[in-house]
Symmetry: C2
Subunit: 438 residues, 2 copies
């Protein structure tokens, strides 16, 4: 089957990330979607400017309308942002029955009601997972994964810039202005950060999530919005003493009297997951009457995290266009004829770090003997701790942390240790795993 | 449009929860799905036993096959568990082209390859979100929301019983056997807890997640499985001293040499989100090459959390059967003609607790005056703290935490406080929100 042909409007951070992800993962994406997805044209303001993606085979133009109107293009990815040109181009694509994937929260929050009506009339799909919380599939989770619930409330850290600033104020005790300047220097805040620090960006996203949660039309102008400016280092410190963290939250809640929608600095008890979301990360807490609280946490912005959601929407579109509707999403994610028989490693082949605990004689030379067993197998030791065992026997607990080593080699080491006369009984081992910063 | 008619096999904890959620939220569910969803028949082993759901209008039978074969039933919900009767009934439903929603991880992990092949051939939908991690929409997130990623690894706390036991050992220092007996008394562990504490249940779930992540066939027998039995209180205490928590993890990872699949007690650095998942909660960390790390956290078991995923699958089925495929999932979750104009509260109408910070004269009587302003408006004070302000001026920082109060009343209070002669400058206020335990 011919690949689906995509036209991208805008090749900034997210546009370049989208091209990169589609190309790098083309094989796996086609195995999941049932058809290849290929970016053939892109519209940019300045075709001469260097881009953060490979432009080979990509027809660049300064005329976005020409991409929208190109009959060879099946799906438009709108990554221009803003609400004027973007809106015109999206409506123009819809008028031609073309499907649109967008990351544009302002467009959806302010003009979504009109855009969706036009799209339904024209039989066009509009997908906008990337408009809220970057890589976190929060729209899909709320719209589909929690569709059985009466949603009680949602609360999100949905503006990375604000959260970066509050986290830095928290850890360094610096005032807002200093931290903002630092965030701008690091590229975590725009030169004009108004939308982020005044809460407008979060309010756009909250508008979208609240409508999906509660089933009312998008109404951005009913969100109460306060920025970060009033929070001083003293407040962060006092909050800490009282057991709280200050977070810029988007909050929507169902009450007997109506729906609350608000964005403002908020004190959250320290032991809540939302309180431990630091830096530019995003997280959304959704409380459903059946599900209870669900928290999703991940990167809220950036080239590839946002592209992850753009491409997921593209896969959704392609699955809808391509497959039998009853089997739209393959059971195991990959199309049944594209499931591969990659080898599964035997446990002996797996690498891991280890915690080892053993009962050892309390005399000189024991550690040297154990270290020589491990060293002889090229297993390096990260830490050794000796402790009185809880029951007060004459031996001591010897605890070792090792660096990563293949299981088969650790099996040999443990057998050697257990055979040693200075060790009594079996060695307890627990594998140690480190994960990418979450 | 006539409601979709559902037959439920098994009315235990999850079955009763499913009936309750479908009935309680019938209105919202129909607004989302585009059509009502009605349980008309249920099969149980003992039709005389009392059930945790309203049985009115529900035809109960001891003959599960009769429910499957009933031509008036459109979709079968299989909640019997196990792999013998459940498998036969699911295959029998598929043979008739009936759609099946199931929470049965053993069935999918052990027989999914065969079940899916039969379902595709018969044009039947098989949905199994409830089989992994209860209320967390992790299958949907992985299969659709992260479809653009090459998945690097996933790690999950996907057995609530094991996590409850480890959390209790951590907090109380008790040995495994004692905690297990306590968990059984509380209903958090089965009378025969083998599947949970030996890691089999987690391995079933890991088998499913790994195939969805990496695109290989389900192969439960290749998962390396170790139970909790070897972990002693001393290990939990030493791990704590070294900066770790011990968690029973299901781990799947892509390496150059093949796929790792393993379930075993694992030391996780304390600062990782997975380390702070306590009690019966579940969480799954997914690392995608584009998205980076995504963590989803929520209830992993229980009547209504699991029912949440069963009903979400039912809504998916109904949306697929009912609507124009291009508009299968409504943009704002609810069908466009079923969006309601519920009132959005003006901020003055919103209730919240408050943190107030002000610069006050350091003399007797100030607190009494402020307390009387708040008391006169029926605003109760949770805490008052007085602190030297950072800049060393003669006044002090007075910090108050109030209980929940309507914003309009707080506006009056703040105006009153700011007019008082013992207060200098404006009052800083930050709203305080508590959330349901996550």
């Amino acid at each position: 089957m011919e690949p689906i042909r995509i036209g991208v409007l805008g090749l900034g951070t997210v546009g370049a990330g989208t091209v990169n992800v589609l190309r790098r993962n083309a094989g796996e994406i086609a195995r999941r979607a049932g058809r290849g997805i290929e970016v053939t044209r892109a519209a940019v303001r300045d075709p001469g400017r260097p881009r953060d993606c490979d432009l080979a085979g990509l027809d660049l133009t300064g005329d976005a309308g020409a991409v929208v109107d190109d009959p060879s293009i099946d799906v438009i990815v709108e990554l221009i942002g803003g609400t004027s040109a973007a809106r015109d181009l999206v409506m123009r694509a819809i008028a031609q029955g073309k499907h649109v994937v967008t990351a544009n929260k302002a467009l959806i929050a302010l003009h979504g009601n009109e855009v969706f009506t036009a799209a339904r009339a024209a039989g066009a799909i509009i997908a906008f997972e990337a408009s809220v919380a970057g890589a976190i599939p929060v729209i899909k989770s709320l719209r589909e994964g929690l569709a059985g619930n009466r949603i009680r409330s949602l609360a999100g850290i949905i503006n990375g810039t604000s959260n970066f600033i509050l986290t830095a104020m928290q850890s360094g005790g610096q005032p807002f202005d200093e931290v903002l300047a630092e965030a701008q220097a690091l590229g975590y805040a725009e030169a004009d950060p108004t939308f982020d620090i005044e809460g407008i960006d979060a309010a756009h996203k909250l508008t979208i999530l609240a409508s999906i949660a509660f089933g009312h039309p998008l109404q951005f102008d009913r969100v109460h919005v306060e920025g970060l400016g009033a929070v001083e280092p003293a407040d962060i410190s006092y909050a800490d003493q009282l057991g709280y963290r200050i977070k810029q939250l988007g909050l929507a809640r169902r009450t007997d009297r109506g729906i609350e929608m608000r964005v403002h600095p908020t004190m959250v008890p320290k032991q809540r997951l939302l309180a431990s979301v630091d830096g530019v990360m995003n997280a959304v807490l959704i409380e459903g009457d059946a599900a209870g609280p669900i928290v999703c946490h991940g990167a809220g912005a950036g080239a590839e995290p946002t592209a992850s959601s753009v491409v997921a929407d593209l896969v959704d579109v392609v699955r809808t266009l391509t497959t039998d509707p009853d089997q739209r999403v393959p059971h195991l994610a990959f199309q049944p004829d594209r499931i591969t028989d990659v080898p599964v490693l035997a446990m002996e082949e797996v690498e891991s770090a280890y915690y080892l605990r053993m009962l050892a004689e309390d005399r000189p030379g024991v550690l040297a003997e154990l270290a020589s067993i491990l060293g002889g197998l090229d297993i390096s030791i990260e830490a050794v701790v000796q402790r009185e065992p809880p029951r007060g026997v004459s031996q001591v607990h010897l605890i070792m942390l090792t660096h990563r080593v293949r299981e088969s080699r650790m099996n040999t080491a443990v057998a050697g240790i257990e055979a040693s006369s200075c060790i009594e009984g079996p060695v307890t081992r627990i594998r140690v795993e480190h994960f990418e910063a979450d």
